[in-house]
């Protein structure tokens, strides 16, 4: 009964990329939790569907770390929703994570490059 299995997303994300996605989404403007999942879903053409079991823990963790800030406000439909936005520290973290991601993907691409595959 391993604890770590609980938050498996439908598509396995490398650890830490969820944070990156959330921060990037918020870069485009403050959103509430549902809005964040919808934005990620739309932008990734339905490939990435973040379920709430991962999203909310991540949102609260980031909030506690001071990377994002939250407040209650009224939505268009007159509902009380908790809206998250990026803090200056969050912007710095986003830049750092983006550059790390780019380094990582370049590294992986280098390994997978066609001329590295030896044809028998």
């Amino acid at each position: 009964m391993a604890k770590k299995d609980r938050y498996q997303n439908r598509v396995e994300l490398l650890q830490g990329t969820l944070d990156l996605l959330i921060l990037q989404t918020l870069q485009w403007g403050p959103r509430h939790g549902y809005g964040i999942t919808q934005a990620i879903k739309t932008r990734s053409a339905d490939a990435l569907q973040v379920d709430t079991g991962s999203l909310y823990p991540a949102l609260h963790r980031l909030e506690r770390a001071g990377v994002i800030a939250a407040e209650w406000s009224t939505s268009a439909n007159n509902q009380q929703v908790r809206v998250y936005r990026l803090t200056p520290a969050g912007k710095r973290q986003l830049l750092a994570e983006r550059s790390r991601w780019e380094q990582l993907s370049a590294a992986i691409a280098g390994v997978l490059a066609p001329d590295a595959i030896e044809e028998g």
Binding site: G33, Y34, T52, G53, P57, H60, Q79, Q80, R82
Partner: protein, 910 residues
């Protein structure tokens, strides 16, 4: 606090709930927009959402307070489970309270005596100037001669500032009649300024006051806060009032703050007077180091200046008029040992030095007792854990981690330990006060500031955590090792191998043995003390009272003193209820010390040994009947003996045995040789005395002088007090004398005091029963008896609890077996026997080992005993019986519970 916490967490929970609900609603709304029906939308959205409760929990966890909530829940659970097992909880808490309490109490004493700095300004920079003794640097005299102090005072380059003080002891502050004693010390002018102690009323000493005859305000005194409250009722106008000290009028100029008790730890003070010393007084020097100066550099500076100090001091002595021969004699040993400046944040005190080792030894002993207490509680906890194995394995099966289970056990241990420590702390406060009171005597009172100190609290906290870890760790580890599958196994039978001599049994053997040693010690010391305290000294200790009188102020000339004594005696004898009034000089059975070298007949006396005496006393007629020494041959003193009649003496049996060797002493003639040592106030024999004729032989009894009860009765020679006339006997009657009288009650005593004051109001008077004098000899015996009883009882209780724990554990483990036996028809007696069999053997081994160890150790205390052989069989047998009784009582309760085991439930659970 809890309400705020709950409020805060609930609000957070509600917000999270709202947030998740909002998310769900929006998801459903979107689906409906896309064309699903409301029911389909709701179902699909919920499915996609996942487990709301789980999400909520994990999100809450992110806030990081989860560990605190779990801890609180653990504590609540531990509390509940302890409440359901009251006996176990009480046994564990009581054991811990005793162990931690005893240790904390002794640590409080150690702290107040040895660790706590004086309540002065910046005590870390104080040093004491001491001289190393000939035995080496470890033996340092706390005192230096006052004349050395004067030299150090005149050399300001050695320290930033230096001051001196000297304990004067008790001063009489009554201006007439019965003496009113105040503890005091004398201090140099800058004493209070050097230490940074200020006055809450008035002022403290200045250097101007430190002169012979007093400074500008005349002789001044500073009183302590406690004395101000006690004697003057805290009156605001006490400054400027006059206080009579030894019949000299001093002016009170200041009252010190409540927390200042004087320069020496272990003593308190009432009055401080200026140090108008004679050069023969010794003082203790406290100096303040300059900023940046270390004790080592101060020592170096002192030693560099030492030769000059020595020379200057010797020169000053000569200048004051000391004879050249004496100075030359002194210079051989004067200030030969190197001076040192030692850190004196806790002050300089002779009591500290003498109490240091015994206190530390007691602390070690108390820590040992604490360890045993922990072992006991560990046993108890293990026993409980064995009973809870089923529950633990079920929890494991449900998913609790090992860490969780271990943490639960540790929290429970910590809870037990905290409650025990809290109780023990309260117990320690009164216990330490009792110890100080027991160690304090009238002559040598012990005063310690026992107020709360952070060190004591820290010690208690450390003891709490330490003990919790000690006894909780093994059970916690064992709990963690429980397998989930155990819950499914049959009966929870436990480990197959039941070791006969496992750790538990050895622990019990050790405890029982230790208790036997302590109980034997207690028995020996208590019996010794009882024998001494009730020993027949020939007279009633409480009823026979000594009234001590000093005629110094009444200025009675030496020649008329005997007649004066007689007048006072008649006044006392006239008081109804007082009988047997007799005059005497030395108090019997006390430490009064008047000896001389005696020649019997014409023979040469044996070589004079101050320890052998003989001891002298000058008494009036009737002494021998009042003090229980019937005359065995010849006669006592009577009216015939006075001025002009032949000089007579009475001796006791020991004297006759040692000095007259078998012959009838009556008729022998005694002369006192001049080369003996004379030590009695005012009695001087410049040459051989005229011969005294022995007219009577008195029985050996407590009427002898310098008799300490433990040792044999010393040889004593009694003179007739009426014959003490310098013209006749060369013995000068001293100004201080005593009247011994038997009184029926305290009011009679008051009437006696009144009668004496009527005759001569200028007499200084103290009345004290003989028991007061005799008790002074018994202080260490009493202390030993009290301490050994306390520790012995402690060890007994702990051993009892230990045996209880082990037996309960054994019963819990063997529950199925016992149930089956009962089902098969075993009687309760048989079950009792089965359960107790194991423990009885263990206890017997413990008693045997303890007996052997005390047998071997008892010869070490032989010197401290009286009237008992160190291997007194009665004491040993008594100890064995006590231990057996305690063991049986302790094992009986769980054994009885074993007989009540319901065989049906045992069979069912298999």
């Amino acid at each position: 606090m809890k309400i705020l916490w709950r409020h805060f967490t609930r609000r957070r929970d509600r917000e999270l709930d709202d947030e998740l609900q909002a998310h769900l609603r929006m998801a459903i709304a979107d689906r409906i927009d896309r064309g699903e029906t409301p029911e389909e939308a709701a179902a699909a959205a919920r499915r996609e959402f996942g487990n709301v409760g789980l999400v909520r929990e994990v999100a809450r966890d992110m806030w990081g307070w989860g560990w605190l909530e779990r801890l609180v829940r653990d504590v609540q659970y531990a509390f509940r489970s302890l409440r359901h097992n009251r006996v176990y909880a009480c046994a564990a808490i009581a054991t811990l309270a005793l162990g931690i309490g005893a240790t904390t109490a002794i640590f409080t004493l150690v702290n107040s005596f040895l660790l706590r700095p004086l309540p002065v300004r910046d005590p870390a920079r104080l040093v004491g100037v001491r001289e190393e003794g000939r035995a080496g640097p470890s033996v340092m005299a706390s005192w230096v001669p006052a004349i050395v102090w004067e030299q150090i005072r005149d050399r300001p380059q050695l320290f930033e500032s230096a001051c001196a003080s000297s304990p004067v002891g008790r001063l009489n502050t009554a201006d007439r009649g019965e003496a009113d004693w105040a503890e005091s010390f004398s201090a140099s002018g800058n004493f209070f300024d050097n230490l940074g102690v200020s006055a809450i009323l008035g002022r403290t000493f200045s250097t101007a006051d430190d002169k012979r005859g007093g400074g500008p305000d005349g002789p001044v005194a500073v009183i302590s806060h406690a004395y101000w409250q006690r004697r003057f009722g805290g009156a605001a106008d006490v400054i400027g009032r006059s206080l009579s000290i030894n019949r000299v009028a001093y002016t009170i100029v200041g009252v010190t703050a409540p927390n200042f008790f004087g320069p020496t730890v272990g003593r308190s003070f009432d009055v401080a007077v200026p140090l108008l010393g004679s050069s023969r007084a010794t003082v203790s020097i406290l100096a303040r180091l300059r900023p940046g100066q270390t004790a080592a550099s101060a020592t170096a500076a002192l030693r560099a200046a030492q030769p000059q100090i020595r020379e200057a001091a010797l020169a000053a002595m000569r200048a004051e008029g000391a004879p050249a021969r004496v100075v030359a004699e002194m210079s051989k040993t004067f200030l030969r040992g190197p001076l040192s400046a030692t850190p004196a944040a806790v002050g300089v005190s002779d009591q500290q030095d003498s109490f240091e080792r015994p206190l530390v030894a007691m602390l070690m002993l108390a820590l040992l007792v604490l360890l045993i207490a922990c072992a006991n509680v560990a046993n108890l906890v293990l026993g409980r854990a064995a009973a809870r194995r089923h529950e633990m394995s079920v929890r494991r099966a449900l998913g609790a981690s090992r860490l969780r289970l271990a943490r639960q056990v540790l929290v429970e241990s910590l809870l037990l330990s905290s409650v025990g420590a809290a109780l023990g702390f309260l117990f320690a406060r009164s216990f330490s006060r009792i110890l100080v009171r027991q160690a304090s005597t009238e002559v040598n009172p012990l005063f310690l500031d026992l107020s709360l100190d952070w060190r004591v609290l820290a010690f208690t906290a450390a003891a709490t955590v330490g003990t919790a870890l000690l006894f909780g760790l093994v059970p916690a580890l064992r709990a963690a090792r429980v397998q989930p599958a155990d819950a499914l196994k049959e009966g929870g039978r436990g480990h197959a191998c039941e070791r006969r001599w496992g750790l538990n049994q050895l622990l019990v053997v050790g405890q029982v043995g230790f208790s036997v040693v302590l109980v034997v010690a207690a028995g020996l010391f208590v019996r010794t003390f009882a024998r001494l305290a009730t020993m027949d000294v020939g007279f009633d200790r409480e009823r026979t009272v000594i009234v001590s009188l000093n005629t110094q102020d009444a200025r009675v000339p030496a020649a008329s003193r005997p007649a004066f004594y007689e007048r006072i005696r008649q006044a006392v004898a006239a008081v109804p209820g007082a009988d047997g009034a007799v005059t005497l000089l030395s108090v019997p059975a006390s430490q009064d010390h008047w000896i001389a070298n005696v020649r019997v007949g014409g023979q040469t006396p044996p070589a004079f040994d101050p320890k052998l005496g003989p001891f002298l006393n000058a008494v009036g007629p009737g002494y021998f009947s009042t003090f229980g020494a019937p005359i065995l041959a010849g006669r006592g003193f009577d009216q015939r003996d006075g001025r002009g009649s032949p000089l007579v003496a009475v001796v006791n049996e020991t004297f006759a045995r040692v000095f007259i060797r078998g012959r009838n002493p009556v008729g022998e003639s005694l002369t006192f040789a001049a080369d003996g040592e004379e030590r009695a106030a005012g009695a001087v024999a410049p040459s051989d005395s005229p011969p005294f004729q022995v007219v009577g032989l008195a029985k050996d009894s407590g009427s002898a002088t310098n008799y300490a009860l433990r040792d044999g009765i010393p040889p004593t020679v009694y003179f007739c007090i009426a014959q003490m006339d310098p013209a006749i006997t060369n013995f000068t009657p001293p100004p201080a004398f005593r009247i011994g009288v038997r009184v029926t009650s305290a009011s009679t005593l008051r009437e006696v005091a009144a009668a004496v004051t009527r005759v001569e109001p200028q007499l200084r008077m103290i009345a004290r029963p003989m028991s007061g004098y005799i008790d002074r000899n018994l202080v260490s015996e009493r202390l030993a008896a009290v301490l050994s009883t306390l520790f012995g009882s402690l060890a007994l209780v702990l051993a009892g609890v230990g045996i209880f724990g082990v037996t309960a554990y054994a019963v819990a483990r063997r529950r199925p077996e016992i149930g089956i036996r009962i089902a098969l028809g075993a009687s309760p007696a048989t079950v009792l026997r089965t359960v107790l069999q194991g423990i009885v053997i263990v206890v017997a081994v413990g008693i045997a080992i303890g007996g052997v160890v005390s047998w071997w150790l008892s010869r070490l205390v032989a010197a401290l005993l009286f009237g008992l052989e160190p291997r007194d069989p009665a004491t040993f047998a008594g100890a064995a019986i006590v231990l057996t009784a305690v063991a049986l009582a302790a094992g009986w309760l769980p054994a009885r519970r074993a007989t009540r085991i319901d065989p049906v439930s045992v069979l069912r659970s298999k």
